[in-house]
Amino acid sequence: MTSGANTLVLPIVLPLLGAFLLPLVARFGDGLARALGIVLVVVNIFLGWTLWSAVGTEAAVTALGGFEAPLGIVLYGDRLAALFVAVLAVGALIFWPRAEHGGVKAYTLTLLLVAGGSGLVLSGDLFNIFVFYEIVAVASYGLAASSGDKAGFGAALRYLVLGALGSSLVLIGIGLVYAAAGTLNLADIARLAPEKLSGTTGLAAFLLLVLGFGVKAELFPVNTWVPEVYAAAPMRVTAILAGVVSKLAMVVILRLLVLVFHDPAAISLLMAVAIVTIVAGEFAAYRASDLNRTFAYSSIAQLGLVALALTIPATAGILAAIAVALHHAVVKPAFFVIAAKWRGPLAGLAGGARVAPAAAGLFVLLALSIIGIPPLPGFWAKLVLLGGAFDAGGAYAFAAAVVLAATVVEAAYLFRVVARIWQPAAGAKPAHFAFSDLSPALLLGVILIVATLFVAPIGTALSGAAASAADAGSYVARVLPGRM
């Protein structure tokens, strides 16, 4: 174990340290607490970037406490983990909570979300992942309620009930895996899975884990909290939850699929869940009455796409999943920034283009990208997904057809909004955007355009990350060098 790998723990414990200190620092002024929080988030971006450039194809592994692999807890830092550590921190930086929504307590919860989320993608131990999942979950409940009004409390409470159910299912799933395999280390479970987890027990454990992590990953049927929470929570919280946190749960499902569950029945099950999630999400978005709910349902559909991508075998599927997830992480928060100002029924958006041309233009750009119009990044993400699905053939061809049909529905409801924005105002005009209201969305729009220009190198980099994340053999060999 090189001393360099020891720093793998820093993206988790530095924000955690900050969260413990923040209430004390706040005694010298809330501004200082805010500054400390933002500095730590920036440090996490740097740590994610450093890890990305340090690991290459060979992942960094550290055995915490010096207790070697199956006995102690390990952290596994590959490029996939590095990418999501950085993306989470960037999301938290852009959407750092406003002082009026919870103040220092909201800053603390955001730091805890960053710490827990980083742990979720770095940990190589199933129970440790559960612990971080709980940290992320409880921090999300608190932030969802931070709007301080009745709607927010109600939405957060129902979110908490469903989340608690999800956490219990995860725990039972972990219990089943432990009862069958006798170990919690992911690499050790991967080694034993063909023998111990290939039967009904393994399938049941997979179902419970997918349903449990699916609460955060917005999978059908445990995603009923999504529209209510995204409509009632402060916009900045919605942007982080929809944009990034949902993908962290997907990363965990990805690790489970790559390492532990190869059963064709498990794959079919996830594919069915994904297809229902896509169809339900897109049709609900079509029927939604306001922008916030439209985007909430559309977010569900996009995460269905990520789950579908994960079922496609080998590197192609993982690459598609990362591409769709990253694209959604850029586009959807920007949409929510616009929706935060343009509340109320869709009919009230008439005249939007005249009142706020920048917001309207940005809306069109985002809509085109999420539908998948070339040369925007959304097109490439969907292309990789459809290409992978058609190459795999069989049921995947059917799934690809569903994706194409869903895209038509997506285009229908997004262009309907675009048409509405360009109509002349009928009654009251939609809200005007101050520059500071729109700036996070504009920043994300710039990121989207830059990504369009550099789509080839980004594609190459993500392919490398996907290839090493898909390599279960090297995961086991890195974590358990003596047992191969």
Partner: protein, 232 residues
């Protein structure tokens, strides 16, 4: 009708879950679980960590990082609850005192509870107990006087100070190992003699941090609930 449908669906879900888990656990070997990791830890723990209480060796040694996470979950929950309750505003305290007997008993109990809590925290690596249990007892020591005489509220400022420093101490102890090139949370200070009060290296220090953190957090949270409850 709608309500019945929901209840039926919930019951069906629960029944399905029970049947599935029953069938699954029937198939698993009861009492003969594959204890590969468990067995190995039981045989190696005393030698590797120097803690006579194997539960502690696992909690603070082999799975110390989980324990940091668990302390954090409590902290997240307390922060989230604080955020929600602060919206309700700390109102007037219930003015009715708890009566002479309760007040006298609370004053008498206080030193005993503090000593018991401290004992359980400091002996966590030797006997059953530890930071979480001792911390809960410490919290009770500060909460009972509050119930007896509601007019003298808990000093939240001090509680938050203790809590912040205890949490920081856990992470700083963990980070200290990084300085000499070891992994996070690697125990140091030597193992000592198995069964001695001063043994198991830095593990008792971690338990002390946990005890203080859990105690101050729990006391603060319960006091907050009493204060807000008194308002409505």
């Amino acid at each position: 009708m709608h309500g019945y449908g929901r209840t039926t669906a919930s019951l069906l879900f629960l029944a399905g879950l029970v049947v599935m888990l029953y069938a699954l656990f029937q198939a698993l070997p009861f009492g003969a679980a594959p204890m590969q990791v468990g067995q190995e830890i039981v045989s190696r723990a005393p030698g590797e960590t120097g803690a006579a209480n194997i539960v502690t060796a696992i909690l603070l040694g082999y799975r110390g990082f989980d324990t940091l996470g668990e302390v954090t979950i409590l902290f997240v929950a307390a922060t989230a609850a604080g955020l929600i309750l602060s919206g309700a505003g700390a109102g007037d305290l219930p003015k009715a005192p708890g009566g002479f007997i309760l007040k006298a008993a609370a004053d008498l109990l206080f030193p005993f509870l503090v000593v018991l809590g401290a004992y359980i925290i400091l002996h966590g690596h030797l006997t059953p107990g530890g930071g979480f249990q001792g911390g809960a007892i410490m919290a009770a020591a500060f909460f009972i006087p509050l119930l007896a005489s509601p007019t003298s509220p808990l000093n939240h400022s001090t509680a938050a100070l203790v809590e912040g420093f205890a949490g920081t101490a856990f992470i700083v102890i963990g980070l200290a190992s990084l300085m000499w090139g070891e992994a996070f949370l690697t125990p140091f200070l030597g193992k000592g003699t198995l069964g001695d009060l001063f043994s198991a290296g830095s593990l008792p220090l971690l338990y002390l941090a946990i005890g203080l953190k859990v105690g101050s957090e729990l006391a603060g949270l319960m006091a907050r609930i009493v204060e807000v409850g008194g308002k409505s």
